[in-house]
């Protein structure tokens, strides 16, 4: 019963419904305004590209390689012939009807040239690691899986917006003394509030992911979810053998865990600080300082809520640089499976710890006396 009251308080008296709606709307606007296809040529020459992709979809095989070589030969021959034909026509050695007839045949070969260039670029990338990289259209998966900082900031800001007043509003008008001495006060403070805010965090993180999913599906299409993750250029050096849909699930889980951890940490901060201004400041510092101040190499090896929310670097492969003295310098070190599992467990333990702190701090004073 008290839970429903809390829901009502948060969603209706504090305009929570309005904020949820605004969050979804802002996410959509952000996607529509800032999202660029990661492979512009693939998007521009989509129909021409699709002609070839339909024949080549899937792993690279010997036949496909031969086909690409033949096609490349055919197109370059046709181009050569066409320029020769034009020269002849302008020199006056062939008639306009002959030119039209001949050029039509050549044009039909050259019609899909731009699409062929796109797929040939893709082939060159796949050739380096044919075991893991498959032919597929990558823009949709890029839009869904790649790092998107503005969306991450938006989610964090809305999480603060929901989490900060949850406890602080009570502290501000000294209501906690009254509430904790009522029969259900402890339940309300210690159980209902964290439960509600966890639920909200899950809803916010999931809805953002769903909006991105629907956008990617509508704008580019998400085909071949069972292909390996390395097919997408941004993750091509990754050493994990997981498929695209598994990667999406992993990102969703990481975001949800990050969001839950963040709201619980924010609640603990609110309970300890008992002051709206300080709470909001510390929340903002917790959310944004790691994102701006730490290198990715450090960020993604720590159980931080904001890195959990930005998530996609967990899937990236190592990026290295050769130093002058020949040693390998790491720009980014891949997060290994073991490390990832450790991080997940650490996050879960932190969540548990936060929950225990909240329970301890919000004990019912009525029952005790």
């Amino acid at each position: 019963m008290t839970f429903l009251w809390e829901v009502r308080k948060l969603l209706i008296s504090r305009f929570g419904v309005f904020f949820l709606f605004a969050f979804c709307l802002l996410n959509c606007t952000l996607l529509l305004m800032t999202n660029q296809p990661s492979d512009l040529a693939q998007d521009t020459w989509k129909t021409q590209y699709m002609v070839y992709l339909e024949q080549l979809r899937g792993p690279l095989t010997q036949e496909k390689e031969t086909f690409l070589a033949e096609e490349s030969e055919k197109i370059s021959q046709a181009k050569l012939k066409y320029s020769q034909l034009k020269e002849d026509y302008y020199a006056g050695s062939i008639s306009s009807t002959a030119f039209a007839r001949e050029s039509e045949a050549l044009q039909s070969i050259l019609r899909n040239e731009q699409g062929f260039n796109v797929i040939y670029d893709q082939y060159r990338r796949i050739y380096e690691d044919p075991q893991n990289r498959y032919f597929t259209s990558t823009n949709g998966w890029s839009a869904l899986l790649e790092r998107c900082d503005p969306a991450c900031y938006l989610l964090l800001i809305f999480l603060i917006l929901f989490a900060a007043p949850l406890y602080c509003q009570e502290y501000q008008c000294r209501m906690e003394n009254v509430a904790l001495t009522t029969v259900h006060g402890g339940v309300c403070f210690g159980k209902d509030k964290p439960r509600l805010i966890i639920l909200l965090a899950i809803i916010l993180a999931t809805s953002q992911f769903l909006i991105q999913l629907v956008y990617a599906l509508q704008r580019y299409g998400l085909t071949d979810p069972t292909f390996p993750l390395q097919s997408v250029p941004a993750f091509q050096s990754c050493t994990r053998s997981i498929s695209l849909w598994q990667a999406s699930v992993l990102i969703l889980v990481s975001r949800v865990l990050g969001a839950v951890l963040f709201v619980l940490l924010a609640s603990v901060i609110a309970i300890l600080a008992r002051n709206m201004t300080l709470t909001v400041f510390l929340d903002a510092a917790l959310a944004f300082l790691p994102l701006f101040g730490l290198r990715e190499d450090i960020q993604f090896h720590l159980p931080l809520p904001s890195t959990g929310i930005s998530a996609s670097a967990f899937l990236q492969g190592s990026q290295t640089l050769q130093s002058d003295s020949g040693t390998t310098l790491y720009i980014f070190r891949e997060v290994s499976w073991n490390r990832l599992i450790t991080l997940g467990i650490a996050a879960l333990l932190l969540i548990l710890l936060c929950y225990i702190v909240i329970l301890r701090k919000c004990r019912n004073l009525w029952a005790g006396k």
Partner: protein, 413 residues
């Protein structure tokens, strides 16, 4: 005056403010050390630093022909042996950097040869720009194009007689003038401090009582605004000083302070003709202006809204968003993109790197001049709005009204 003092005292009575400031400063210093580790060649190869400093005294200081000749005499054998591929690739502890000849060559090339060559040839580059501008002035005068004439005259004045006469270790300054992270930290801290300044009375509903006291209303607000400005100045100065000192400490040399700003490769087209240590102070002033714009807008928002939550989040989101835009447009040559974005005042290198002009009427304005002008306009508007919409002092108001009424009654009697 006393009001200002009280407000100032009240602000620093919040102990959390000091702890937060200390925490942020520590993070800043850690981040500067991290910057050194990731960006300086000296961090990866300690031998390079030793090698660099052993020959530093021989070649630093005034650039003279003798010195340049002796350096070339020192450098050429390395270059030749590397180009012939005749050098010994094995580890050689007796070499300059303790690695081998190739490592010595790379160090000398990156830290001595390239910068020295740029410094020696800078004079002729600047002179040719000035000469071209001078020619343009003459031709535009003939054609009667006053704007272009004035623009070229300004370019001529900015680029004439530029030369770099000294060679010093300038890496700390090159990194310091490119370092923005402290702006983010200062932004967070300022938003927090200003919220404390304004919100306490609001939260405890003290503002209504203050309004009916003799100095309530606009006088209190004026005191708060002045305290806000000094607070911003203090914060920006603290962060600037921390940055400056930590960069010099981490890189271990303050020799470069006397070099002109255009001695740095990224700033070779800068409109400023001042040494590096003055540039640091100019950065401080620029950041102060930028933060003033944001703080006034923020004060206005916080004054009007009921809880601190929305202004805080809206303020943080706006600053972060605009900073992201400013970082994105940092390398662009469009003046308007940079000047009309107050966040580019917080990353001053975007304003000082290039000499681009904006046409205001018939007068050419440099990017930073336009940005300052815009900042002053926004500040003035925000101040006006803040005071125009502030709650009026009810005490004074009622007092006057009673006095009028009383005098009327007295007259009637």
């Amino acid at each position: 005056m006393r009001l200002i003092f009280y407000e100032w005292k009240k602000l620093w009575l919040h102990r959390s403010l000091i702890w937060v400031l200390l925490g942020l400063l520590l993070f800043d210093v850690w981040h500067i050390r991290d910057t050194w580790q990731t960006s300086s060649y000296f961090a990866d190869n300690p031998g390079w630093a030793t090698g660099y400093w052993t020959i530093y005294d021989r070649f630093s200081g005034d650039i003279t022909t003798d010195k340049v000749q002796s350096f070339l005499g020192f450098y050429t054998p390395y270059e030749e042996s590397v180009q012939d591929m005749t050098f010994n690739a094995a580890i050689d502890p007796d070499s300059l950097t303790g690695v081998n000849i190739f490592s010595d060559y790379l160090m000398l090339q990156r830290y001595y040869f390239t910068p020295m060559r740029r410094m020696v040839t800078y004079r002729s580059t600047a002179d040719s720009i000035a000469l071209q501008a001078q020619k343009n002035v003459a031709s535009y005068r003939e054609k009667g194009n006053t704007y272009e004439m004035q623009r070229n005259a300004r370019i001529y004045l900015l680029f004439q007689n530029r030369s770099i006469d000294q060679f010093f270790y300038y890496e700390p300054y090159a990194r310091l003038l490119d370092y923005n992270f402290s702006s983010y930290l200062a932004a967070l801290f300022i938003v927090y401090g200003l919220s404390l300044l304004l919100r306490r009375e609001r939260e405890s509903e003290m503002d209504i009582i203050i309004l009916v006291s003799p100095r309530g209303g606009r006088k209190t607000l004026a005191a708060k605004v002045i305290v806000g400005f000094t607070f911003v100045l203090l914060t920006v100065a603290t962060f600037a000083l921390t940055d400056w000192l930590s960069f010099l400490a981490v890189y271990g040399s303050a020799d470069g302070s006397v070099l002109p700003l255009y001695a740095l490769a990224e700033f070779s087209e800068t409109p400023l003709i001042i040494p590096l240590w003055q540039t640091v102070i100019l950065y401080l002033i620029t950041r102060f202006f930028g933060f003033c714009v944001f703080s006034l807008c923020y004060l206005f928002l916080a004054q009007r809204s009921k809880t601190i939550l929305f202004p805080f989040l809206a303020g943080t989101a706006t600053v972060l968003g605009l900073l992201a835009v400013a970082e994105h447009t940092c390398e662009w040559h469009q003046v308007t993109c940079k000047a009309f974005n107050p966040a580019s005042l917080l990353i001053p290198q975007s304003l000082y790197r290039t000499s681009d002009f904006f046409r205001l009427g018939n007068y050419p304005l440099l990017t930073h001049e336009l940005a300052f002008l815009f900042a002053v306009c926004v500040c003035a508007t925000a101040l006006l709005l803040l005071f125009a919409l502030a709650n009026k002092n009810t005490w004074n108001h009622n007092f006057k009204w009673y006095r009028k009424k009383a005098s009327k009654i007295m007259e009637e009697i």
